[in-house]
Assembly symmetry: C2
Homo-oligomer: 225 residues x 2
C-alpha cells in the first residue's frame, strides 16, 4: 500500500483514485487536447483552426500541446487518424452472417448513415482533408494500412445475393459502397446550404428518417436484378 506500482494509472501513492485530485495526468491531458483539437479543426478547418483556441478549449497550457504533439500539423494528423480509427472500429463490430443478402445491405447502408449522423466532426474532417487533396492522409502510414472493413462484408453479401438470383451479376462493390456513402455524406455535409436554398430544414427528425429510408431504397434498387 505504501509503494504503488510504477507507471500505474488511476492511483496515486496513497492508493486513492487519481482521477479526481490528479493535478498531473499525462493521459488525460493528451486526450483532452485531442478532443479539443477535433472540435476546433472540425469547426474551422485546418486554415481556420487556432492553436490558442485548442489550448483554451482543452483547459491546458499551449506549451503542453507542443509537448505532446509537436506542432499544429502533427496534431491535425493525430485528430484525423483517431477519427478514421473510430469508424473502422465501429465497422468491425457489425455482424451480418445471420442476415439475408437484402437485409445485410440495408443494415450496412443504415450503419453508414447513422455513423455519419452521430459523428458530424468526422464528415467535417473529411471535407477539410479533401480540400487539401488528402495531403495528410497520404503521409500517414497508419491510415493507409487501415482498410475499410465494409468492403469485405459488402462483397460477401453481393456474392450471396447473386447466388440466390437476387442481385445483378456486374455490381462493383466499390460502386455500391460509394453510393451508400454518397447519399449519407452529401445530405448531412451540405445540409446548411441545401436547407437555406430549398427552404426546408433537412435536420428535422421526420426528414432525417425519410432520408434513411430513401438511402436503403435507392441502394437496393440499384443492385436488384
Amino acid at each position: 500500500m505504501e509503494k504503488p506500482q510504477a507507471g500505474a494509472r488511476g492511483r496515486n501513492r496513497n492508493g486513492e483514485r487519481a482521477e479526481r485530485s490528479a493535478q498531473r495526468d499525462p493521459e488525460r491531458t493528451r486526450a483532452s487536447i485531442l478532443a479539443a483539437a477535433t472540435q476546433e479543426f472540425a469547426e474551422n478547418g485546418m486554415g481556420g483552426a487556432r492553436v490558442d483556441a485548442i489550448a483554451e478549449r482543452a483547459g491546458i497550457n499551449k506549451r503542453m500541446l507542443y509537448h505532446y504533439f509537436g506542432d499544429k500539423e502533427q496534431l491535425y494528423l493525430a485528430v484525423l487518424e483517431e477519427a478514421y480509427i473510430g469508424i473502422r472500429t465501429a465497422e468491425k463490430a457489425i455482424n451480418l452472417s445471420d442476415l439475408e443478402p437484402e437485409e445485410g445491405i440495408a443494415e450496412l447502408a443504415m450503419f453508414t448513415w447513422r455513423y455519419f449522423l452521430e459523428h458530424p466532426e468526422f464528415l467535417s474532417l473529411l471535407g477539410t482533408e479533401n480540400l487539401h487533396r488528402a495531403r495528410w492522409l497520404r503521409q500517414s502510414t497508419r491510415l493507409k494500412e487501415l482498410h475499410s472493413q465494409l468492403m469485405g462484408k459488402l462483397s460477401d453479401l453481393l456474392e450471396r445475393g447473386r447466388a440466390k438470383g437476387l442481385f445483378r451479376e456486374d455490381v462493383d462493390p466499390l460502386h455500391l459502397y460509394l453510393t451508400m456513402a454518397a447519399l449519407g455524406y452529401f445530405y448531412l455535409s451540405n445540409q446548411y446550404t441545401l436547407s437555406t436554398i430549398f427552404g426546408r430544414d433537412l435536420a428535422e427528425h421526420p426528414n432525417l428518417e425519410g432520408w434513411e429510408r430513401h438511402i436503403v431504397h435507392v441502394t437496393l434498387a440499384s443492385i436488384r436484378r
Copy 2:
C-alpha cells in the same frame, strides 16, 4: 469621334480599343480580383485564404481589393454569389421538352455530374460554405431568390413519367434532385481521400465515365415502378 460617350467601355478618347493599353480599367480589375479570389477561396477555404495572395494572383494592388469589395468577407460573398449564378444560368439553358421522361431524367443527371466535373471550384466553395453552416449564403438576399431551375424541370418530367406509368407515384422531386447531386458531389469532392484509401485513382477517365453511367443507372432505378 473626339468626344467618346461617358462611361463607354472598350474605347478611350482616341477611339482606340482600350483593352490593350488601358492602365485603368475598373471592370477588368474587378473581374480579375473576383477570378483570383475564387481560386484562392476554393483552394484554401475561408480561413486559409490570404488577401495578399488574392491581390498577387490578380496582379493588382491590395488596396483595390478593398476599394471594390469592402473586406475579405464581402469578397468571399461575391465569389459565392457568382458561383451560384453560374450554375443557375447553366441550368436555365437546358431544354428537355422534346425528350421522353427517362431520357430527360438521364439528361439532368448527366448535366449535374458534368457541371460538377467541370467546376471543381464550385464544389469546393460549397464545402467551405457548409463548414460555416451557410453563414454567408443565409445573409445573401440575392442568392435566396435564386431558386434552382432544376426542380421545376424535374417535377415536370416526373409528372410525365408517372402519367405514362413508368415512374412510381410517390417520388419526391427534392429527393430525386438530392440523389443525383449526392452521387456526383461525393465522388468528386472526396476523390482524394477515397483514391488514397482504396488505392484506385477515381480521377482517371475510365473511372469517371463509369461513374457517370452509374449515376444515371442508380437515379433511374430509384424511380422506376
